[in-house]
Amino acid sequence: MTAPLGLEFPPISHLIRWPDLLFEDTPYAINKTTIIYFLAVLITLTFFFVAGRRAQLVPRGVQNMAESSVEFVREGIIMQTIGPDGLRYLPFLLTMFFFIFFINIFEIIPLFQFPGNARMAVPFILAILVWFIYNIVGIAKQGPLGYLKSSTIPPGVPKPMLPLIALIEFVSTFLVRPFSLAVRLFANMLAGHLILVTFAVLSAALWGKNISLVILPFPFLLLIALTGFELLVAFLQAFIFTILTAVYIGLSMHPEH
């Protein structure tokens, strides 16, 4: 790649595709992304086991954080979207939230600096899983026809409009939902990663080059600010993915809402 401005921006595939480290060229290949998945599992489990190991009636430290997070998923997500009968989905939604969050957070962890969800794999499988869950729940709660009716025919639609609306609703519920769910997470993390790379590359290119050193602080300070911003995004995207899942399940359970 030529660098007319002394700036060499790597091709996108080099920013998000990582070489295989183990079992190269097999479907079980292990690369940086999969290691981030494993670490997300390990961190979550450690977090909860440490919290549970030294559990005391008066919570402090890690226990407090773990309990607050459970409380957050229970009160902030499930009770707001599904209601008390959604509490059985607590383990699933909690797992989902932490899995996504910790994979995201590697975006700003030094040496890793890559959000695992800038790869489509986890958003894709989670979205598929969510698709299965809300459809199965809907069919189980309302029956196949009732579910189809409640999810494609909104109340109060004039007769002539009905076929068009039903078609749109059908596409929206059964096709677009999982796609948008997965792409929202993936694209947000990828975009955040590209922005951080851009400013990091820019800062690096400005380093040590005569006059350009003067403007180095600007991209660098922005890089720091954006790193903080990515922390927020990591949390927010995990939250959005989880709460939308809860909303979909809730819609399948209580179509009247």
Binding site: P19, E24, I30, T34, Y37, R119, M120, I125
Partner: protein
Amino acid sequence: MRMRTLFASFGLGLLVAIAAPGVAGAGESGGEEPTEEPDIDHASEECIHLLEDGGEIDDCQEAPSPILPEANEIIWGGIAFLILLGILWKYALPGVQNMMKQREDRIRGDLERAEQAKTEGEGVLAEYQRQLADARNEAGRIIEEARQSADQLKRDLTARAEAEAAQIRERASQDVQLATERATTDLQSRMAELSIELAEKVVERSLDRDTQLALIESYISDLGNGRRG
């Protein structure tokens, strides 16, 4: 539990995906092989490989679509998620939730106990206040009674004293009267005796008129001077 079945079938599907290498064979790697020539960078090296494999120069510009998920990442991501879900669900979460439940119960119990103690305390206080009021009333009543009985006693005593005094006075006046009567009687009998005595003397002496008169006068004067003994 339907959820468990769902997750189990999801895991099974993943297993099938792993077992069928044909399905998941797309794992194209950005494998970085050690290069003999250090000035060729990674991108150029990939391009050389592509050209060697009979590709066009345009292929060098084409990167695999970043939106298509890679098989190995799907497999490991899915496994990782299921492991996390399983362990969290089975082992980690119950501990945390138990502790939260315990605390919740504890706090609720404490609050209920406090409420109960408060109610009890209020009950006891009301009881005490009632008893105190009762005691006050009782004391008032007793004092009133005492005052009444004292009054009564006073009145009784006064009446009795008055009655006794009257009685005493009565008796005294009776005594006086008796004494007077007795004295009168005595006097009368004495006068009779004296009259008889006098008559005897008169008869004894058979005196003339002058002597008799003198006698009577002397007698009367004797009487006037007091008892003759």
